[in-house]
């Protein structure tokens, strides 16, 4: 069942300039992205910095204005809804943020942080509220006494778990996770990733997982899309992308992942060298004259690539 479908989504930010600071151009942060998320799966978005991954994610939760295109959530187009109309959907779509430090209000106690969404949507007595919050804390592996603490009393991983607990309280169907572990140390990162997987099973969640660490994405995601300059250049099952990358950008991306086996390092250097020259020689195969990637074309039932 399709839970979320992005159809030719575009998010352009104006660049002002000229004499009267008129809009002279646009940053095409997201420029015609389409993909679907099935209920219960984890879909990964990778790409280099500035490729529009976060912007896509934020557009879904309406943190960004959508320039054009559709965001169909259970068949309703979120992009066309007003602020008021979107409110009921807020329950269903939640976001986990990258920075566990800035995403929790340092002046609020854990109770207030986690209960904030509850207070917006439900009328609960303080004791009910407290109980729910403690339940969720328990789920993410924090002690119930934590409700009276402040964020700075927790480590990065714990904070991230508080953020996750907050996003779970409304029992959302879809969670947008924007690089939820990239600010964390490896050891802590593992903890959070494990949790995300456990929770997915427990609540039957669907994740849109944004990240730049291909190892993490591969570990987490069933399917993934590779973004490059606001466009998807390749999409498919994780194995397909990793084992059989088709787009030159995807190839380079994968070749750049450092390998844990010291023995193969020479080969990888050679591979990268080879890809660089391949990139130069086959550029027009992948990008049109404006340097824009072509539209996706299916090469198998699950695998799509942006080729001429």
């Amino acid at each position: 069942m399709t839970l979320l479908k992005l159809d030719n989504l575009k998010v352009h930010f104006p660049i002002r300039g000229g004499f009267f600071r008129r809009v002279v151009d646009h940053v095409k942060a997201v420029d015609g992205v389409s993909f679907e998320l099935q209920q219960g799966e984890t879909y990964g978005l990778v790409g280099e910095s500035g490729s529009g991954k976060s912007t896509t994610g934020k557009a879904v939760v309406k943190l960004n204005e959508v320039t054009s295109g559709q965001i169909l959530f259970e068949g309703r187009d979120l992009a066309s809804l007003s602020r008021r109309e979107i409110k009921p959907f807020r329950k269903d779509i939640q976001m986990i943020f990258q920075d566990p430090y800035s995403s929790l209000n340092p002046k609020k106690r854990v109770l207030d942080i986690i209960a904030e969404p509850l207070r917006n949507f439900e009328r609960l007595s303080p004791s009910e509220e407290k109980k729910i919050v403690q339940d969720f804390l328990d789920k993410v592996g924090l002690s119930p006494e934590s409700i009276h603490k402040y964020p700075h009393e927790f480590s990065g991983g714990q904070r991230q778990r508080i953020g996750i607990a907050r996003s779970l309280t409304l029992k959302p169907k879809l969670i947008i996770a924007d690089e939820p572990v990239s600010a964390l140390d490896v050891s802590v990162q593992a903890q959070v990733l494990n949790f995300l997987q456990d929770l997915q099973q427990e609540f039957n969640l669907t994740y849109l997982f944004v990240g730049h660490d291909l190892g993490v994405i591969r570990h987490m995601c069933d399917r993934m899309g590779v973004m490059y300059r606001g466009r998807l250049v390749e999409e498919g099952k994780s194995e397909e992308i990793y084992e059989n990358p088709q787009h030159i950008y995807t190839k380079r991306l994968i070749a750049a992942i450092p390998d844990l086996e010291p023995e193969v390092r020479e080969d990888k250097v050679q591979l990268r060298k080879k890809l660089t020259s391949e990139y130069e020689s086959t550029y027009s195969k992948y990008f049109d004259e404006n340097g824009r990637a072509y539209d996706l074309k299916p090469i198998s039932s699950t695998h799509r690539v942006a080729l001429q």
């Binding site: 300039g17 000229g18 004499f19 009267f20 600071r21």
Partner: protein, 321 residues
Amino acid sequence: MWKFILRRLLVMIPQLFLLSIIVFMMAKAMPGDALSGQEINPRANPAELDRIREELGLNDPWYQQYIRWASNAVQGDFGVSYTHKTPVMDVIEDRLWNTVFLALVTLIFTYMLAIPLGILSGRYNDTWVDKTVTGYSYVGFGTPIFIFALIMLFVFGFALDWFPSGGSVDSKVDEGTFAYVVSKINHLILPALSTALIATTSTIQYLRNEIIDNKIKDFVRTARSKGVPESKVYSRHIMRNSFLPIAAFLGYEITGLIGGAVIIETIFSYPGLGQLFLSSVSLRDFSVVTAIVMMTGFATLLGTLLSDIILSAVDPRIRIE
């Protein structure tokens, strides 16, 4: 760059327009007018005063007066000062230069004091040098400027008699000579120094904090890692970056001094804009009052612009296309 300046100048037009209306209405709202000073002169003829009022248009509704005034002002004609019986611009001109000189010299003194002290205090923070400088700047912060200026006047103007106690120049020297310039400067030193000694304290603290902030920046560490000697680390890296915000304040600072000259000019009987403003307010010489406020307002706007330009000149990160 030119586009930017031009745009900013354009933006000033509505601001100046609004300012002019406010200024004009406020001037008119002050009780009395330029002729009321004559109303205690038993020989003055009230009917005659009314005739003059009528003739000067003082009896018209304010908006008519405003339109008349504004349309002339646009062409640089701010009318005639009633008290001085001469075009306002003539009255203001001399005083303006005096005030500008005073402001410049004050600025020079301020920076002459602030820069070395700020650097010392920032570089050797938490040492006795820093504590002394900081102590000084706190005392400066808590001292009302006019009391300080009065004391300076009495000590250096009279008790020691090192400096003249009023005016802008010695009447005996002739314009254009070297002695004239010396005399002008001699008259400026005391008021400028008095202001500088007090006003400098905020700059000192500012500079000190900047230096302390910059000292621990990564690029300073990079410089050290290159083997740059400590003195050069300061002069080439820390100081340049610390002066940045100060340079940016220059524009504001000048206009602040011009606008705030009222007190110091009063104390040192220095014939500048501030003093002219005060006397024009009490004599209800509206044309002068409005002109001065408009000019100072304009100067402030220009100062802001200047600050932005300076900033973009010294800081490559803020490039104005």
